[in-house]
Amino acid sequence: MRPTLAIVVAALVIAVSNWTINPHRPQWRDLYSISAQEAVTLGQTALWVDARHADRYRAGHFPHAINATESHWDDGLGKVLDAITPSTTAIIVYCDSAGCRSSHHLAKRLQSDLGRNWDIRVVTGGWPAVSAASKP
């Protein structure tokens, strides 16, 4: 039992050290995923943000989705602020695929810049799932 405890203590020391020095901190709350089906049912009551590269966005995107990326954040945030209307109930973000992380990063930036009162969600499965779910 004692050797296992030593392993666990070592792991906790690594974890706490990483938490202390690493700037890429996870969110302890307010980072929510949404399934593509659920997101599509929200339709235009939500503001859709496409976090993919501009070329892929131009090749096809969810209706009325705006393109915003972390690499052009000021421009992207401006577009989001312009697109928000009084009837906007949520902000839905998606990126290239199930494994992509840009939608999560963008959602966190939006949550940080717009405030915690906004319901900001990331689509599980990314664009392929959104595309499949929005087909009639």
Partner: protein, 140 residues
């Protein structure tokens, strides 16, 4: 003996590599955990720090042959947990990547197969560990 050393090298290298990206980007790893839709945000954040810590500690322990048996049992339990999570995601048809090696997306079926292989190697190492004793821990 050779199989034992080879198995130890494979296991320690795999988990040291797996720990690296997750320690560098715990935020990315949390996103991967959340994609499984099993636990909530707070627990996913805690796991995003603790799991890579365990992987690193166990990887180093097996590499250095120090506290090896405890590290092997810990990894055995972890891989079993990973298998349950991956199986659950497969059964629910979640369109996600495993998140096992940081940003590199991996197919869940492939991940399931890799986990089974890791589980087999770990079971072999645990069983053969009695024949090859770990370096003694310092007596107090």
């Amino acid at each position: 003996m050779i199989a034992n050393v080879l198995g130890r090298m494979i296991i320690s290298a795999t988990f040291l590599y797996a720990a690296h990206d997750k320690i560098v980007r715990p935020d990315d790893f949390q996103s991967a955990i959340l994609d499984y839709q099993i636990i909530g945000t707070w627990w996913s954040a805690a796991l995003a720090y603790v799991l890579p810590g365990l992987e690193l500690a166990c990887g180093l322990a097996i590499w250095t042959n120090y506290l090896r048996q405890a590290a092997l049992w810990t990894l055995l339990a972890m891989v079993f947990g990973f298998l349950l999570a991956v199986s659950s995601a497969l059964l629910r048809g979640l369109p996600i990547s495993c998140g096992c090696f940081g940003n590199a997306g991996h197919d869940l079926v492939l991940t399931f197969a890799v986990d089974i292989i890791l589980l087999a190697i770990l079971a072999f190492l645990v069983k053969s560990a009695r024949a090859v004793p770990s370096r003694p821990t310092p007596s107090t």
